[in-house]
């Protein structure tokens, strides 16, 4: 193709100002070469199944029944929105679950990253240790926390009672009004390393001169934090918060292991409800409808967050 040989000629000349066709190449094709492997893999292994999974929401799919699969239109959504009180309960719980988990793990993770962002004796050891919670399979950490909250075999209820937070040692996982905090605590424990390590890596990238310059200009610690640190951290914060929110919203393991969604659906969140519907009732169509509703909500959330991010001034 003429464009290609022109580009080749340009390259042979060693760069220089690219012509129009070369610009076409650079702006359209070249990035897709780099994106290629990722796109192909994801398209095949994730997007295709995702489309199939989404299609279930409009069909009657019971996985063991060989003859199901008929198209039912919006029936599932109708039931979901107007006749399913468990769905609305789960939605509310999911908001608490996601909000509660995210706020604490983000703030504590950021705190930890700031603490780790300086040289001190034993820093490598500390870094390795605080990363451990992320390496434990969530099934196991869920069981461990369930164990810790059980007054028969765990210390936490007794300590909480001694501190006056609980009136007497009992298992908070059995109390519908506070049961959700059990999995939230486990999730915070699990998620702090994620924020700590990613934010630490971003903090490391901030040029020291900027802090020195700010100090020379008379900025105090808080001002250095808000004027230098935060703007540089903003991109990483945006992406980690976005991703972690999406992950937490879809994260059923801890709830399923620690409370099973009970008692009386007090801890039922959308992902655990989806799991129960799909793998206990074997109604994949309805489960997919719930999942689709969740996906729509998350998509809107991502849209808003990304718009906000693009609206903020960039640091580069």
């Amino acid at each position: 193709m003429a464009g290609q040989s022109a580009v080749a000629a340009l390259r042979a000349r060693g760069g220089g100002r690219p012509g129009r066709t070369a610009r076409l190449f650079e702006f359209v094709l070249e990035p897709y070469y780099y994106l290629g492997p990722a796109l192909i893999l994801i398209a095949l292994v994730m997007v295709l199944p995702l489309v199939v999974g989404l299609s279930y929401a409009f069909r009657d799919i019971r996985i063991l029944a060989p003859v199901s699969g008929g198209f039912v239109g919006f029936d599932h959504f109708e039931t979901l929105l107007f006749r399913d009180r468990v769905f609305w309960r789960s939605l509310g719980n999911t908001l608490w679950w996601t909000g509660g988990s995210l706020v604490f793990q983000f703030l504590l993770g950021l705190g930890l990253a700031l603490l780790l962002n300086r040289q001190f004796g034993g820093r490598r050891l500390v870094q390795a240790v605080v990363f451990l919670p992320w390496a434990v399979p969530t099934f196991l950490s869920g069981l461990t926390f369930a164990w810790l909250f059980n007054p028969v075999i765990g210390p936490l209820p007794h300590w909480l009672a001694a501190l006056g937070i609980l009136s007497e040692p009992y298992n908070i996982l059995g109390n519908p009004s506070i049961a959700l905090w059990g999995p939230i605590v486990a999730n915070v424990w699990f998620g702090i390393p994620f924020f700590a390590i990613t934010l630490l890596a971003a903090l490391q990238a901030i040029p020291r001169e900027l802090y020195e310059a700010a100090a020379i200009d008379g900025a105090n610690a808080w001002q250095r934090f808000t004027k230098v640190t935060l703007p540089f951290l903003a991109p990483m914060i945006a992406i980690t918060v976005l991703l972690r929110t999406i992950w937490i919203s879809n994260f059923a393991d801890l709830v399923v292991v620690m409370t099973g969604g009970g008692p009386a659906n007090a801890t039922q969140i959308l992902p655990s409800y989806i799991f129960t519907t799909a793998y206990r009732k074997l109604d994949f169509g309805y489960a997919s409808a719930i999942a689709t509703a969740l996906l729509v909500l998350l998509f809107l959330y991502a849209l808003i967050l990304i718009r906000m991010r693009r609206a903020l001034p960039s640091t580069t």
């Binding site: 300086r118 461990t144 926390f145």
Partner: protein, 283 residues
């Protein structure tokens, strides 16, 4: 107090506060793990009667010896290591390329691709099991480690891509443009100039993906049937039978499983905390 002494006192107080805060974090992170260890060394019959004590009255190594010597766990660990390493390397390579593209180029469809990657994270994985299973089975990718690596790589690429994009965003474009003007192709500029600077980013990505693959349970459970191919996470599930949970053994296996994850993370740490050489721009 003299001004110097006051400054010194302030520095000491800050340092003390710093260490204290770190100690609290470590305590919080370690406490459940400590409990895990405690359960793994408690003899079965004391598990429920001595549940609340901080340390059992009698210790036993029987659980560890069972897991190491008389169960299939050594094989499970090996499988997990293979899968996790394979996934970590594959993801880092693919995501580095993709993250670079997002960082350096503006091109039509860019935000569509970004949303596509995000979209894949928004649908619960439990719903994807059935379609993925049906996709993998005819390709011969069920019940073997290769299939798992393929699936895990696909799952982790979106996050890793965004992570790598952030790291690339932190490296000024002047560096590779300078190299390209000097006659390098973009690829060799990447290799010679940019790559060393991305080591912290790649280390972080490797670390996260390794642990994600290491502790993944759902797909390992659903895609693998035969015992020889099981990963250790699924192996943990076998300790939960209908009538009892072999807590001691399960926790022992869990403790042992932390070691490779720990070692791997310790290994990449060296690269993680390396500050970027901002001096590259000055020369």
């Amino acid at each position: 107090m003299s001004p110097q002494a006051r400054l010194l006192a302030k520095d000491l107080a800050l340092a003390l506060g710093h260490r204290l805060a770190i100690a609290l974090y470590m305590l919080f992170a370690l406490f459940p793990l400590f409990w895990l260890i405690k359960i793994s060394v408690t003899p079965d019959r004391l598990l429920f009667t001595e549940g609340i004590r901080l340390w059992p009255s009698e210790m036993t190594w029987a659980n560890f010896s069972f897991v190491l010597l008389r169960s299939d766990f050594p094989a499970f660990f090996t499988n997990s290591v293979i899968v996790s390493l394979g996934t970590a390397i594959a993801v880092t390579l693919v995501a580095a390329a993709a993250g670079y593209a997002f960082s350096r180029f503006r091109f039509p469809g860019k935000y569509a691709v970004v949303f596509l990657l995000l979209l894949t994270q928004m649908f619960p994985l439990v719903m994807l099991i059935a379609p993925i299973y049906r996709l993998m089975a005819p390709l011969g990718l069920t019940d073997n480690l290769t299939g798992l690596i393929v699936v895990y790589t696909a799952f982790n690429v979106p996050f890793a891509t965004f992570l790598m994009q952030s790291f690339f965003d932190g490296i000024p474009t002047d560096l590779e443009e300078a190299a390209m003007i000097d006659g390098c192709t973009r690829l060799s500029a990447l290799r010679r100039v940019i790559f060393p600077l991305t080591l912290p980013g790649m280390a972080a990505t490797l670390g996260f993906v390794f642990t994600a693959a290491w502790s993944e349970l759902l797909f390992a459970l659903m895609l693998i049937n035969s015992e020889e191919t099981m990963t250790f996470a699924v192996g943990l599930l076998t300790f939960v039978s209908k009538f009892s949970v072999d807590w001691g053994q399960m926790m022992a296996a869990g403790v042992l499983a932390l070691i490779p994850a720990c070692l791997f993370f310790a290994f990449i740490q060296r690269y993680l905390v390396q500050g970027l050489t901002a001096g590259a721009l000055k020369g």
